[in-house]
């Protein structure tokens, strides 16, 4: 069951790019979907702050940070070059509840013994409500604030909000909806939806205090982002309007400058079932007000896309995403062939991706206070990525296994060429531009999965992933994946409605380049996660607690990363 779901999730990943949320019901719940993906061993690594990750899902292959990738299949909101999951359309959860978490290890009474202020640990707090009515309407609201990972940056963030030459007491004591930890993000929003048999309509508004590294130099921007979204569906057609006003909110000369993003998305919705035929057209207008550090390459642009997936006789499957916007374009196609011989199953997959942009929604020029361009992300140049995957899966009794190998080749890939670095506010800031890594780069991924399930309610899975950086300009790439990764996943659903889910993960350490003057080698380490979840009253209620990585050991997992700590999160949910 787990294996099938996981395989299905991975297939979707390959077909749809990074539509990574499909396996989410199998994941250990953490602070955010990204952290849930990490806790489940699906590939995220290198936590920087609560909203920033170095993300490379196991099957994503390309040596880039996939949080910053454009996903033509999903066309989800992209802000400052990356897919930020807290700017979603609709509520995160259609239930009402509370979540509270803490980085474990607050000093509490130990301060009395230590006779000094201990290293503070910060909480995560979420409260949300979803109230449906019989008429088909629903209203929802949510407050989500993750203070985890903020204590390293809090003093510098505070300093940026303190008028020079004043006492600490005069510091503007907020950049969040509550508390004094200067968290990475603090989001308050709500909306209403209405649906009937013909279609649906939705409206939402949100306001987010957010410290985000800029996509170019990685300097932290203190933003207050206001969002208004509206959408309307009729049968399979949809129209969505997304509007963002991102304003710098500190005491620097640039305070009050802003970037306005207006998007209008017209699309045909995915019908139910295997066949997919989806078209979309995105109009995006970006307007810079004042001396905002990011200048968009285009004030206005239109991008159109076409997704198609089809399968024949259960043996062939084609899936493709294609987009075109002015002189920019991209295609991503996959052809899969299966053969079954009794319990044996062979699969071959051929894939190709070509484009002339790394991410069409991340084409900014970043300037410093004097107006000099310090980071240029507007490079356009054709790159290619091809690969072939051969897989074998089989089963014996309650065991199933699966072996696959995927050699791939990239040609003329784009990379950020950092010319200089500066250490400021406990972060590396860089300057440089996107360039072409001339030539072919070769890699290969081997994967072995062994799973055992005694019934639908209990099972375990052992996965080993091997990545080889074979040849080519690897030294220019942002991410060189860990050579060895292993995951043991386990779940047990007890008849009392108690679900236990655990993962033990090992990674030999990836290399992250061009974010710091020296290449950053992630330390090899174990991670362990456990979730205990109780379903209540016919699955209408849930209480859960997740113990996230008791082995964390305060490791730093990315060049600008905060200490990774043991976190405990507990929640209670109710579906009205």
């Amino acid at each position: 069951m787990v294996n099938q779901k996981k395989t299905a999730a991975l297939a979707l990943l390959l077909i749809g790019g990074a539509s990574i949320l499909h396996g989410a019901e199998q994941w250990i719940q953490a602070e955010s979907p990204w952290q849930s993906q990490r806790a489940s061993g699906e590939g995220v690594f290198g936590t920087e702050t609560a909203s920033e990750y170095f993300n490379r899902p196991a099957d994503a292959l390309l040596p880039w940070n996939h949080q910053e990738r454009f996903d033509p299949h999903a066309i989800s909101p992209h802000l400052f070059g990356a897919n930020r999951l807290f700017f979603r359309s609709g509520p995160e959860d259609e239930s009402t509840g509370l979540i509270f978490g803490n980085e474990v290890g607050d000093p509490l009474w130990q301060e009395l013994k230590e006779r000094r202020k201990g290293a503070n640990r910060t909480p995560t707090t979420e409260a949300f409500a979803y109230l449906p009515f019989n008429s088909g309407a629903a209203v929802w609201g949510e407050l989500r604030q993750v203070d985890h990972w903020s204590s390293r940056f809090a003093p510098d963030r505070k300093r940026r909000l303190q008028p020079p030459g004043t006492q600490a007491e005069t510091v503007r004591d907020f950049h969040s909806w509550f508390g004094e930890n200067y968290p990475d993000y603090s989001s308050l929003g709500g909306g209403a939806t209405f649906q009937n048999s013909h279609g649906s309509a939705a409206f939402q508004a949100r306001s987010v205090w957010w410290w985000t590294p800029s996509p170019g130099s990685r300097r932290e921007l203190p933003l207050l982002v206001d969002e208004i979204q509206g959408q309307f569906h009729y049968q399979q057609w949809g129209i969505q309007s997304r509007n963002y006003h991102a304003e710098i909110d500190d005491l620097s000369p640039r305070s009050g400058t802003s970037l306005d993003i207006h998007e209008l998305l017209l699309y045909s919705r995915e019908p139910e079932g295997e066949e997919l035929w989806k078209t979309w057209l995105l109009f995006r207008q970006e307007e810079k007000n004042g001396d905002f550090p990011l200048t968009p390459e285009y004030a206005f642009r239109a991008i159109m896309g076409l997704d198609r997936s089809v399968s024949w006789s259960n043996r062939f499957r084609f899936a493709g995403s294609h987009w075109l916007g002015g002189t920019e374009w991209g295609v991503r196609d996959t052809l899969e062939v299966y053969q079954s011989f009794g319990r044996q199953r062979l699969s071959q997959r051929l894939f190709a991706e070509l484009s002339n942009r790394k991410n069409p929604l991340n084409s900014y020029r970043e300037s410093d206070e004097s107006g000099t361009v310090i980071a240029d992300l507007t490079k356009s140049s054709t790159w290619q990525h091809y690969g072939f995957s051969l897989g074998w899966s089989s089963s014996l009794g309650r065991f199933r296994w699966q072996l696959s190998s995927t050699p791939w080749m990239g040609r003329d890939l784009l990379y950020f060429d950092a010319e200089s670095y500066k250490w400021k506010e406990k972060r590396w800031q860089r300057s440089g531009e996107l360039r072409v890594a001339q030539g072919n780069i070769w890699g290969a991924q081997q994967r072995a999965v062994l799973s055992y399930s005694s019934c639908l309610c209990r099972g375990w899975e052992l996965e080993y992933l091997n990545e080889l950086a074979l040849a080519g300009p690897w030294r220019l790439m942002e991410i060189e994946p860990a050579q060895h990764r292993a995951a043991l996943r386990h779940f047990w659903k007890l008849p009392s409605g108690l679900d236990l889910r655990g993962t033990l993960l090992y990674t030999s350490g990836a290399t992250i380049r061009s974010y710091s003057p020296e290449e950053f080698v992630e330390p090899d380490h174990f991670e362990m996660n456990l979730e205990i979840r109780q379903h209540l009253f016919g699955n209408r209620g849930e209480v859960w607690i997740a113990l996230l990585n008791p082995l964390a050991d305060d490791l730093t997992l990315s060049p600008n990363g905060a200490d990774d700590r043991f976190r405990t999160i507990a929640g209670a949910l109710w579906k009205f």
């Binding site: 290890g105 607050d106 509490l108 009474w109 006779r115 640990r121 375990w460 033990l504 209540l536 016919g538």
Partner: protein, 199 residues
């Protein structure tokens, strides 16, 4: 040391569960058809790490419990204490302060005694705690005058119940570990509960 052993333990437990007896059937969610409420009066004793810095203190709590699965009960506890603590300033002067502590517990209680007779039945249990503390006033340069919170765990043993009309009285001892740093903090809570049927 324990960090190195943890992955091995995890593997062993996962393997044991994977190979263990079938314990799979259709989900029968706990229905909470009956519920009980109990008042708790107890004495909080700090152990080793902080015993000379935190005074013993009385504690009052409210427990709601319900049958969870077979003979296992689930309980939710809310508890309050206000211990006196001693803090040292940078110059070494000792001062006394008052600290609010609010504790929330959730966990399971299992009957453990061999004869299947509730009159002689000891109960044993454990679960998770959330500690929330705040000093009543500013304490030097400590963080304690701000809201501080952390998770922890508890283990509890209860004596057989003494029936007093519709009420049941039990004695208990409970060991708490708060997951604080640089060291964990331990407390012992011992006292009495008086329980009544709620629904």
């Amino acid at each position: 040391m324990s960090r190195r052993i943890s992955p091995v333990l995890f593997l062993l437990i996962a393997a044991a569960i994977g190979w263990g007896d079938e314990l799979c059937s259709d989900q029968q969610l706990p229905s909470f058809l009956t519920g009980r409420i109990a008042a708790e009066a107890a004495w909080l004793t700090p152990l080793k790490e902080t015993d000379h810095l935190v005074e013993q203190s009385p504690s009052a709590g409210l427990i709601i419990s319900s049958p969870y699965w077979k003979q296992i009960d689930v309980l939710v506890v809310l508890r309050y204490q206000q211990p006196e603590v001693y803090a040292y300033s940078k110059t070494g002067e000792r001062s006394s302060h008052s600290l609010y502590q609010l504790m929330g517990d959730i966990g399971l209680m299992v009957p453990i005694s061999p004869p299947n007779n509730p009159r002689y039945q000891f109960r044993f249990g454990g679960g998770f705690s959330l500690f929330f503390i705040r000093a009543t006033e500013e304490i030097g340069s400590y963080l304690l005058d701000d809201n501080e919170s952390d998770f922890g765990n508890w283990l509890k043993i209860e004596t057989p119940a003494l029936s007093l009309g519709g009420l049941k009285m039990r004695l208990f001892a409970e060991l708490f570990t708060a997951w604080s740093l640089p060291q964990r903090t331990h407390f012992l809570l011992s006292g009495v509960t008086l329980e009544s049927r709620l629904w």
